[in-house]
Symmetry: C2
């Protein structure tokens, strides 16, 4: 029997605990939770605030009963305040100030990330919120309802900012979104960010790009927000959603090594530098499958996978995290925007690639069948090796954008050549696709352009008559 | 300059011609078309007949002008009647009986398939139709409109039968569908066929399974259809859609070798046994990527790919067809049904596998976000090697079934282990998926069941501590 202690009850922590109990039902698994909302879907907060998910209880991936019936012991409303690696214990304190020391055989740190608060004067004012926890969302909800807020201003045009612009518009508020860059969603290329910007504007969002917010101040019953280029607007509620930073103070103090952006350094087995201490989720560096080096890519999907690996290994398994590709999708009103892998600039910055990015547009399914929508697909490949580096898609929410990016993600997982994407045997019927799927026509357009630029380098097989695809293991 | 002659103007022939012109704009490419509808989307016929695509001209993938502007010379309404391999020529005849001899340097046979007419007495009666060409669909359309048909009877519950049941119901006809097997769509497992059957019945289709039609006869203004188990029903129009057979008489007579189901034998370069004669599409044996042997799998997607390979190779390229996995999707009213790879019985029949199939159900996206639908996913894997063998999905048409099966198809393309499917970095946002996509929870359920049945055989890595996945080529 092994005592596993887990700090954190979100995606990584819960996945770790469930995996441990699955592998060894005799293990004791205790989770220290900072709040009272174990295993809640943080990604669902915008939909609670939009009113589309009116009962916040439904945001739980699993109920407390589910978790406990699988043998997880939960310590809600407990803060871990000190890890003692030498004594293999963790000091925790509850909300009443009661302390206790918990012994472990193995520890998993899943403390997640915390929202970044930029150095803008006035963000401490009432009516200014970050949005990261259930409690944050209750505060926003109560404030919006309690004050009868009509005007919301969102600082930050990343994916949470966009989701909240959608959500609060859905709720009936007038929304202003202020983004410092020239386009929203800077995790995708500007041409796609502009498509998202158009969608926001068409849905009545007052979109302000290229403006840095410089001050927030309470005025009468409202908040006055001022920024560069003379920006000056009032709102009833302000959301600050400019990203997250790993929550690793506790780990650092105990001697756990950190790296990129302060995230905990881990092996692919999710081991930290200290014996019997593992870490997973938004608090750790994430191994990038394609780059084969650590990055910081906090995503729920990754947290689940890493938690699972950590939970098994904490009990002696030897699993390895297979890496992230940064695959992501967001719904913004009627659009879906998705990406996987590297963009042009990211690939250039790495130094090992000669990237080329090609944008194509194609109908999601045969135009003659009703309901066709145009997809915009950007394919990034390495003109030297011919390998796929990444892809981005924007299209209607009904256009299977999410699972189309996943085909690219599966291709990247196997380091496919761009040209081989057209060899994939993808499904077709006129209501859902074309005989060549839009991702294949996009890949073909890339190959054609790469050949123009690079001559035979991409057609490495033309000399030997051999198809250059090398990722096909022997048959059973 | 090279003279390329292509017999057939559907998917394979047109793809071949376009590829040839792309590789060598000085080549002369002539297509012999049996009808006057080059490059029409045969898969779109049900949507023309349903009324969803009212103008049949829109069914053309490309217009004749598009094709001619890309340098394809079209000979519509010409029947190829003799291939002379020794003299490198083809005799053709037009609808007026005018003959001519066309010389070639390379020939591509893309004669496609023809509908099977089962040996049922009375199928020659007026009002009984097959459905394979544009002209077939005009005949059905004119008959239904001209006679004011109200009752349709469809013989055959394969994908065209199901699409036509959907289409004619959409058009306002009362539809009876008669299938000899106990479930429709016998290309998927019976549990999924039953889900489709339920959908048909809910939409008002009179579904008759387990009945073999034995006779059709004209009675007064209608057709009387009788079958086993006392089946006896009248209809105004009868469709016979029980599958296709490769159209290879012309090729055989010229000495081209045929194999499975009479389909033309080809190499992966789409070469026949005769010099400078290639073949592609529904008239050829199709190399199965996973089985690594020929099969007969007539599909439009495959015809496009094979045509492309043949068109290049006819001009001296050395491309290889990368193989089919039989990936397919069909919309049936509000359901989508899709498959890729092998089913349990198919894998058993091959003799090299110990297949296990597991069925799971999961929401297509987080249940708390509106519009969630349940997906039924069947995963087939080999319990000896742990490799994925195939997958089948049924779910709502809005549930991204088509592109979900394509992720499995991409996994099969790379011979993934079932357990590694959970390592794929797939996209997630509550409106489109869950942190573990339903295809991943299905894969996990399979792994769990396989372990129970087979002990450590699937966990081949537990001894070495090495992850068993071997399909990851070296990084660039």
């Amino acid at each position: 029997m092994s005592r596993l202690l887990i700090i954190g009850g979100s995606d990584a922590g819960i996945s770790a605990g469930l995996r441990a109990r699955q592998l060894d039902p005799s293990s004791t698994v205790t989770l220290v939770l900072a709040d009272n909302f174990p295993n809640y879907s943080i990604c669902g907060l915008p939909f609670y605030l939009s009113g589309e998910t009116p009962d916040w209880h439904n945001l739980a991936h699993r109920t407390r009963d589910d978790l406990e019936s699988q043998g997880l012991a939960l310590l809600p409303d407990h803060q871990a305040i000190r890890i003692n690696p030498a004594g293999k214990s963790v000091d925790v304190v509850d909300r009443k100030g009661q302390r206790q020391k918990l012994q472990y055989d193995a520890l998993i740190i899943g403390t997640g990330a915390q929202p970044i608060t930029p150095p803008i004067p006035g963000l401490g004012a009432g009516g200014v919120f970050v949005l990261h926890t259930m409690e944050d969302s209750f505060r926003v909800h109560d404030y919006v309802v309690g004050r009868g807020a009509r005007r919301a201003l969102i600082i930050g045009g990343g994916y949470i900012g966009l989701e909240m612009a959608d959500a609060l518009t859905h709720r009936g508020l007038q929304v202003t979104l202020v983004e410092q860059a020239n386009t929203v969603m800077t995790t995708v290329d500007a041409s796609l960010g502009r498509l998202l910007g158009e969608e926001l504007k068409q849905r009545g969002v007052d979109l302000v790009t290229g403006v840095a917010v410089e001050q927030v101040e309470p005025v009468e019953d409202a908040l006055r927000v001022r920024g560069s280029k003379g920006f000056d607007q009032q709102a009833d509620v302000v959301l600050v959603v400019v990203g997250v930073t790993p929550n690793t103070g506790l780990a650092s103090e105990a001697g756990v090594s950190t790296g990129l952006k302060g995230a905990i350094r881990v092996s692919r087995r999710m081991e930290t530098n200290l014996p019997d201490i593992f870490a997973a989720g938004d608090c750790v560096e994430t191994w990038h499958r394609f780059l084969e080096r650590p990055t910081y890519l906090p995503l729920g999907t990754t947290a689940h996978k890493q938690g699972r690996v950590a939970g098994g290994n904490a009990l002696g398994d030897k699993a390895e995290f297979q890496g992230s590709l940064g695959t992501q999708v967001v719904k913004v009103f009627d659009l879906a925007v998705a990406r996987t892998g590297l963009r042009d600039a990211e690939a250039k910055a790495d130094g090992r690639f000669s990237p080329l990015t090609i944008e194509t547009r194609a109908w999601d399914h045969k135009f003659y069948y009703p309901g066709a929508h145009e997809l915009t697909v950007r394919v990034t490949g390495d003109t030297t090796s011919g390998r796929l580096l990444g892809a981005q898609i924007v299209g209607h929410r009904s256009a299977e954008v999410a699972k189309r990016i996943d085909i690219f993600a599966a291709a990247l997982f196997h380091r496919m050549l761009v040209r081989n994407i057209s060899d994939l045997d993808l499904s077709y019927t006129p209501p859902f696709s074309s005989p060549w799927d839009p991702i294949q026509t996009a890949a073909e357009a890339w190959v054609s352009e790469a050949q123009k630029k690079n001559g035979n380098a991409v057609e490495v097989d033309s000399a030997t008559g051999k198809h250059p695809y090398v990722g096909h293991p022997p048959s059973p």
